[in-house]
Symmetry: C2
């Protein structure tokens, strides 16, 4: 007895007790009817529901039964299932035996079954399967007789022991592989299939010893015991690491559990009139309406995917077995119509008879999704409203990347085709092995060289290299590795985890297919397919035909969209791009980027190169007093004014939200530890080191070592003054503008002078001045007053008024809680959910990668809260903030400008909580538009659903 | 016209318009009756309400009128007052003139008035006053004739021009001082009073020139213009920096505004039957029931406080003017009875006639407050329930500090008596001038030397020195300076801003009264009174009689207290102390302190000195794998177990809340920048430097330079791994326990083994295991499961169960928002409002001092949110957290363990939101108990108030 009790746990247990008698755990199917149906995915899983549905539709499905997901959840909770589950399973088995006229693993014609997992959402290959269950030392003989194929029988038994041993008894695979390989060596054979029945029987005996040794028990001869153990093992496999990771990536609830499907075995390997295959009702890569798939005769499912034998295109089956082929086409066509979506199916032919083993909606590329959706509407299969849900908004990017010209893909150039397609698009570039090298070689602007950063794995330290590289290739790491995640965020091509490529960063070389590549060598990577090729392969631009299809698709979707989509853009070039994608304004212009962005060369005449900008910015920061600060700010004024004028022109007529200076000032100065180390090193540095040091500080006015001795301590003193233990929570945002009001004044002046200048040129402006990091209404009042005063001053001086708003970025929990107060002073809210996530969770975004992997692996978090908004916590604050803000100011304009603005799930959330718009990076604008449209359409469907009730 | 409008501002304006006609702005008093009364402090201010009340009571008060606070608020909003105010003021003036039979500044007997501020709460000396208003070139002659004292008339006029010039026209004081001093020099006189009427008339002419030069206008001769200008200047003085600072410190709302009192002048300097004085109805320092005060004959108020003449004890007046004295005693006794509190009063005697100028509740020391309260209850003046509000909970500390033995205070030893009494208590110590020196000289434990850190001002860099010093003395900085704030928090004696002492930190000397003090010299400081004395003065321990009074007082208060008070204590010694002060448990034991606290020598036999502890802790952190980590943890286990056993014994029968490891691990290792610099310096260091470096790293096993070359890069590598950009938001709290479950296991094992051991010794335990930094219920479930499993293991092994709870520290916004979820797993909540304030505001506590001074000065924050809980933001999250947590678990135990737990206002808040207890540092326990009792009594009074209605 524990001294503490958890009342909730007790409640849960008693709830189960109550339910137990009423729960139907096991659903039979076979003989033309099923207990369940296709809608019962929650209980039966996708596979079980499909099998029931196909059975009910009279399709040839091997009979069996499905143990529903509640049994799995029970297993997770208590480590076992209730007796009721066992009882119902025995009943269903008896029914199956009666239907088949066989007994499980017994008699002259023993019933053999497969035991397969099947969750609500497809998780291909993640959980475990047992085939040939029911075989034992006795029934294997019966099977040999019955099939008249002793080798087939022995091989089936051998496979059962191996699968069962591995999956159920958790014996390492290699323990069996060693036995099998030794036998092949002994028999001097190469292929598995070369081992005859006698050899396989010897293997079986050895396998049994392996089981005994590792599991400390015999392989169970009782078929019923096999079945119970296999079922439980499948339940357990729901919790294995692969499955957990898959669910995390695909955002599948850990608590759903899997169903277990027990089904009479059919064999595709009984001879030349047997076979097995997989297929799609349409092409999943292009969406073309063509029967697509492959099969192998005299083979089992695993032979099709293992690659030992090359499968045959499914169209060949038409010649070989026209009846079966026609039956299959007929069935799958009916299935597509029935499910109103492209189907991904599996079938087996046993002695000339077709069996359907599975059907489900097929996965597809973005290109295929759109084509399918358009054509199915034309065919009258689905409505336009349904169609717009057929494209995952994240797949929009597939339409805009370069493609490999397949005509230029010669097999000898392909270094691997098994990398992970981590971030789409094909690129050609020169290899670099370090981030620093990437920065060095990539160059700037017109002289920019395409480089591909090749690493075993990338880390946050590589970010600067990833930013300048055209693409990233890694040899390790999965679909959630740093490289994969970051490049998808950047919209940059990436092939990750290409295991066939060896990267030796120290030797600065990459080896693949026996060839060695050094830095500077050209390669081509295709993040859409996961291929890596040597040399400069030809690329094709995005297909205009596809883009036209996407446009048509988006035109259908747009009317459903209720909330606006703006873009985060800091310079006119990005603003223009965003507008092309349909952005309806700028939701976030980060003015500090105007001082960092090295791609800005010159802006509107002689208003300052990036070097000038940084120099004056630093002069401003290093100033000891307001007067010197104002002098430096005066130099920055025309530069900012020109920036803003460019933005206003690019976004003519649309709102432009400009955030005042946000980052802590020390970000513009050298790092503290570098200065400390440089000072410590200076006196004893050799000539070369000294020269390098002078170079490092040339932009601060250092021309020789003498200068450094003066400069460095001075710089360090200021950096120390500005140093913060937690810069994220430090002297930044509106706190800068409050301590240095002259900065706010300069920025406001630049904004309003630019707006007036634009309007004088006939360009309509709509500036929204955004004060960052507001926690109290008094901060807002303080900064708002400065902005409004400067506006009036500029308008008076220039003799012209322009329309503008003053509002705030809501990015601190306190701001959400006192939003009613803040809305008295702020005319708009823009939720900065990046920072809001940091403070709400207490997660530093720069550091969270030390915590996140464990949290995701342990299931503590289902997803990275910086990627998709945390609805329960951060979202709750957003809800509170909107509600309270609009209580004060009912027409308060509300948007979001964190990176969540480009994440479909987050966009849906923003729609639900009643925001006016989302703002995201330009290349996510289409994604956001589609996600917003889907959210709007969902609302409409709900309302209509309600109406028809 | 602004292009943007603030609807709320418009609403406000129109509300004012509506109110204007109805508002009574001016309240007359005089002739035995007043428009207002003593209850109208909101409108009339304390002084105005007191004058009205005294007038109504028939006391001799010079007549006049009060312009109420709404006019001041109007002035703040719009920069002026409405015409209605002017109109009402002229009416009241006419009434006053009629009553006095005089005209303002006109005629043979001109009416002269004083214009004084008077806010709801007393703000002595913070705002401005104008005396003798109504004098001009003409009326000064009338006054001279009427008083038959030309020198008095000229001096009054001279003073008016000076005050008016400074206060109303904002002319620097020194401009007038220069004229006056020049005149004294010219006349070869020393004292002001030596200047005769002629000289003063010359001064007046010079003063007029000063006005003309600085204000570019003449001194106004129109008395009505003088009055309007003076009134507005008083309104403006509400907003001066001194007043704002005072309000901030005393937590007075900036929006209250001040009233203005215009009152007929009476003069104490008309000759030997005139005089002026101040007094208290009881002794404000001791609380003794004695008539206490001082006066001067033939003097004005400012002469009493300026110190030029030595005032006479008020008892002397009895001999000199027995009638007046008896009248004064009679009046003030009536006033004390009327106000039911000790009164602080001002009076003037003009030609033998007594006038009361002010009465208010007097400020008092903590000792006096308690004595007063006890005696007034005995006298039947107040009830016990009222009495318990008469001590500010923050003053409790006054009872526990050492006192100067006044018998040992010789005038020649007093270096200054005008320092700020920043943090109470008298201490004797040796001077040190730097924090490092303090650490070096202070020594440890038994060899501890008392040092007093003397600085111009302290900064956060000095904290380590402040910690070891026995007291702090600064020559600069006010009552909110770093030294003052930090020492109050530490409960350490401090005299701040002692301007008569010059500190030269570079020369390492302090000068006072012509004497030079070097480091090592002995001084005595008295933080209770602000005195600094040379040498070792005798100190007295806390007075047992006073402590007995306090006990009686607390015994009255305690029954009203509804919430518990626990203490934050990490070691048995502190726990015992807390229990002596009445702590009802430990609310926070920070287990990491057990590895830092250098005062722990040995614990329960040979279970590890502090050096051992840190060494194993570091070994744990430097371990590369779980195995090595577990080995180090095994060494730490017996040490922690002994710590906990000590705590359980000290708190026998009371709850002990133990927080699992919280800080980021890098806090236990050397600083990153130090390692970088040391590595850079190592190769070129000279012998001495090398030796010092080896010394620095000896505890990491360095015995020579050779070791360092290996060690430092290794250490740096680990420190780099652990480095975080924002440690506050980093890998700490439960995140450590989740990534390193073995740490949680070890700590849980130590707790439960200690609890079982204690119970076996017959000591009842009540452990509450607290998981820090929870953001999600899954974190809580993860760590809770480990703790509960280890508990069961220990109980099974030891054959004994103990009672315990597992709960969490709620210190992140997200935890408050999902408290309903978290309460499913947590059996108690303890709000960590330090961190919650950091994340809710986005303020790093380590860095906020760069922002806070500006924020407080600008009125953006009214108080430091780390000192007193921010009710609107942080408090709102606390409310949400409690409400949601109790929705799931109605009997959830809820407390607070941030430093707010010892702040009276925060304690009141905790009471209001229904917490079960507060926890604070041991020496704040009494403060918290009293604050909690006051909160409980307030509730009771409210309920009773409701009942009697």
């Amino acid at each position: 007895m524990a001294t503490t009790t958890l009342p909730e746990a007790e409640v849960e247990v008693s709830r189960q007790e109550n339910k137990k008698s009423a729960t139907k755990y096991v659903y039979s199917f076979g003989g033309g009817k099923a207990d369940g149906n296709g809608k019962m995915k929650d209980d039966l899983g996708g596979k079980g529901a499909g099998l029931a549905e196909m059975t009910n539709a009279g399709l040839p499905v091997p009979p069996g039964f499905t143990i529903q997901t509640e049994a799995c959840r029970e297993y997770m909770r208590s480590g076992g299932v209730s007796k009721e589950v066992d009882r119902q399973m025995e009943d269903a088995l008896a029914k199956l035996e009666a239907l088949q006229g066989q007994k499980l693993g017994t008699g002259e014609n023993p019933l053999l079954v497969s035991v397969r997992s099947g969750a609500k959402f497809s998780m291909p290959g993640m959980m475990d399967t047992i085939l040939n269950l029911g075989l034992n030392d006795k029934s294997v003989e019966s099977l040999a007789k019955r099939s008249n194929n002793p080798r087939f029988a022995a091989d089936s038994y051998r496979r059962l022991i191996q699968m069962f041993g591995n999956v159920v008894l958790e014996i390492p695979k290699h323990a069996f592989d060693e036995v099998f390989d030794a036998k092949k060596k002994q028999k001097k054979t190469k292929l598995d299939t070369d081992l005859d029945a006698k050899a396989l029987k010897e293997v079986i005996e050895e396998y049994k010893k392996v089981v005994k040794k590792h599991a400390r028990r015999d392989f169970p001869q009782d078929p019923h015991e096999q079945l119970v153990m296999a079922r439980d093992a499948v339940f357990r496999s729901w919790q294995n690491d692969r499955a957990k990771t898959y669910r995390r990536i695909n955002n599948i609830d850990d608590m759903l559990g899997t169903a277990v499907n027990v089904q009479a075995m059919v064999y595709g390997n009984l001879g030349d009139t047997s076979g097995t295959g997989v297929g799609f009702t349409r092409n999943p890569a292009t969406g073309a309406k063509e029967f697509y798939g492959e099969y192998l005769m005299n083979a089992q499912g695993e032979d099709v995917v293992s690659g030992v034998r090359t499968p045959v295109p499914i169209l060949e089956l038409q010649k070989l077995m026209p009846d079966v082929y026609n039956q299959l086409r007929d069935i799958t066509t009916r299935l597509e119509k029935h499910y109103r979506d492209m189907q991904d199916f599996e079938f087996t032919i046993q002695d000339g008879k077709l069996y359907m083993l599975q059907t489900r909606n097929g996965k597809r590329t973005g290109l295929a999704a759109v084509r399918l959706a358009l054509e199915m509407v034309e065919e009258g299969l689905i409505s336009k409203e349904e169609a717009i849900f057929r494209l995952d908004p994240n797949q929009v990017v597939d339409f805009f990347v370069s493609r490999l010209d397949e005509k230029d893909v010669r097999p000898e150039d392909v270094l691997t085709k098994n990398g992970l397609a981590a971030s789409p698009g094909a690129v050609v570039g020169q290899i670099v092995f370090t981030a620093d090298e990437a920065v060095q070689k990539a160059g700037h602007g017109a002289e920019k060289n395409p480089v591909i950063l090749v690493r075993a794995e990338t880390t946050p330290e590589d970010i600067h290299g990833m930013e300048v590289a055209i693409g990233i290739l890694t040899s390790q790491g999965g679909i959630t590795s740093h490289a994969a995640v970051v490049t998808r965020g950047m919209g940059k091509s990436c092939v990750a985890g290409a295991g066939e490529i060896a990267v030796d960063e120290r030797a600065r070389e990459m080896r693949a297919r026996g060839q060695v590549f050094k830095d500077g060598d050209w390669i081509t990577i295709d993040g859409t397919t996961g291929r890596v090729l040597r040399g400069k392969r030809k690329l094709l631009p995005p297909d205009p035909e596809n883009l036209a299809k996407l446009k048509k698709f988006m035109d259908w979707a747009e009317p459903f969209r209720k909330i606006g989509v703006r873009a985060n853009a800091d310079i006119p070039r990005d603003a223009k791009k965003a507008r092309e994608f349909g952005a309806e304004g700028i939701g976030l212009c980060r003015t500090e980027h105007m001082f960092f962005d090295k791609t800005i060369k010159k802006n509107e005449g002689d208003v300052g190169t990036i070097e000038h900008r940084i120099r004056y910015m630093r002069a401003m920061i290093l100033a000891n007093n307001e007067k010197d600060r104002r002098t430096a700010l005066k130099k920055l004024l025309p530069m900012q004014r020109a920036d803003f004028l460019g933005l206003f022109k690019a976004m003519e007529g649309l709102p432009v939200t400009i955030r005042l200076l946000d980052p802590p000032l020390h970000e513009f100065l050298p790092k503290r530890e570098k200065l400390m180390v440089d000072i410590a090193s200076l006196s004893n540095a050799n000539a070369k080191q000294k020269k390098a040091l002078v170079e490092d500080y040339r932009e601060y006015g250092a021309n020789g070592v003498g200068d450094l001795k003066q400069l460095l301590p001075k710089l360090l003193a200021r950096v120390e003054e500005l140093h913060e233990f937690n810069p994220m929570l430090g002297h930044r945002g509106c706190r800068l503008g409050i301590t240095y009001p002259e900065i706010t004044e300069m920025q406001a002046q630049a904004i309003f002078e630019a707006a007036v200048a634009a309007e004088k040129e006939g360009v309509k402006t709509h500036a929204e001045v955004m004060i960052p990091l507001i926690a109290t209404v008094k901060e807002m009042a303080n900064q708002g007053a400065i902005v409004r005063r400067v506006a009036e001053e500029v308008f008076k001086e220039k003799g012209r008024h322009v329309h503008y708003l003053v509002g705030t970025m809501i990015e601190l929990p306190r701001a959400c809680l006192v939003a009613d107060e803040i809305a008295k002073e702020a005319e708009f809210f823009s939720f900065g959910t990046n920072d809001l996530t940091q403070t709400t969770f207490g997660f530093s975004r720069d550091d969270v990668n030390k915590i996140l992997p464990t949290y995701l692996a342990e299931g503590i978090l289902k997803q990275d809260p910086f990627a998709s908004i945390d609805r329960d916590g951060v979202g709750e604050l957003v809800r509170i903030g909107i509600e309270r803000g609009r209580k004060t100011r009912p027409k308060l304009e509300v948007g979001i400008c964190g990176e969540h603005g480009g994440d479909p799930s987050s966009v849906e959330f923003c729609h639900q909580v009643g925001m006016d718009y989302v703002s995201c990076s330009p290349f996510r604008v289409l994604t956001a538009r589609l996600a917003a449209a889907q959210a709007g359409a969902t609302d409409k469907l709900k309302v209509e659903g309600g109406r028809t009730k």
